[in-house]
Symmetry: C2
Subunit: 149 residues, 2 copies
Amino acid sequence: MKKTIPAVDDVDTSYLESLIGYNARRAALAVIGEFLEQMAIYDLKPVEFSVMSVVVHNPGVTSRQLCAALNILPPNLVGLIQILETRGLIERKPHPHDGRAVGIHPTDEGEALMMEAEVTAKELEMNVGSKLTPNQVQTLVTLLQKIYL
Amino acid sequence: MKKTIPAVDDVDTSYLESLIGYNARRAALAVIGEFLEQMAIYDLKPVEFSVMSVVVHNPGVTSRQLCAALNILPPNLVGLIQILETRGLIERKPHPHDGRAVGIHPTDEGEALMMEAEVTAKELEMNVGSKLTPNQVQTLVTLLQKIYL
DNA sequence: TATTGTTATACTCTATAACTATA
DNA sequence: TATAGTTATAGAGTATAACAATA
């Protein structure tokens, strides 16, 4: 009996596609790819958008609070803050109670930019969600949050 | 009228939590974190697990096919293949039709390892999914696939 | 003694250009 | 001319240790 070396026509990924983690990662990368393209007009990467969004909705938030909320390590936030400050989108003011901390505040320019950017992000959600009904989008978000929150 | 510098008690992330991309990324990172811990006993990182899984279910698959299936760039797969080959989990044989290509095959050891690892991965899914009913897990996977497939 | 913000640094992941062998 | 696999390398993302200032 002769041993034949098999070739593969169509790759079967059905096992991986049964795993939550695999699907969540692939979906996240797809959406973030879209996001990168759409947000290029604002010169905002996903992390920068996240930071700006939290700052706009929480004026005076501290670095530590940002790190905890967005799961960023403190040393890695420093550079982000510096970039956003240099661009005039945020400013740092002394914290009212805690002399160690610094409050991060949006500038008028930062707020104006995020007003537009958050609308664009919502539109992008609609595009991604065009493959899903509004109900399905809501279900998806709810289920994802059950996992990590 | 006196200007007060505000402080933030509880950080409001409700806007971000309404975005599919944000939730998908956070959920993926949470699951992958669990995965990293559980798979440490097999010395398999998520990407290595993915590659091994596809190889086991598709003996003779080529590098290009792996790259396409797993969304990995060819130069970045080379090192992975070398590691797995050095560990004796896969072996490379000439492709039956195409002299340029190389077929990647699981060794007996590789198959045995993945038999166990895939069971562990499924158990891990159950843990993650313990926050979800089996029905919800199925719904979640289906919705995620609609986004990236 | 603990925490905030920071620097320096290392490690991993991802991306691009260019080469060779074969189709 | 196009494709499979590879090399070298650059850039982004993520990680730990250690320090000064303040609590």
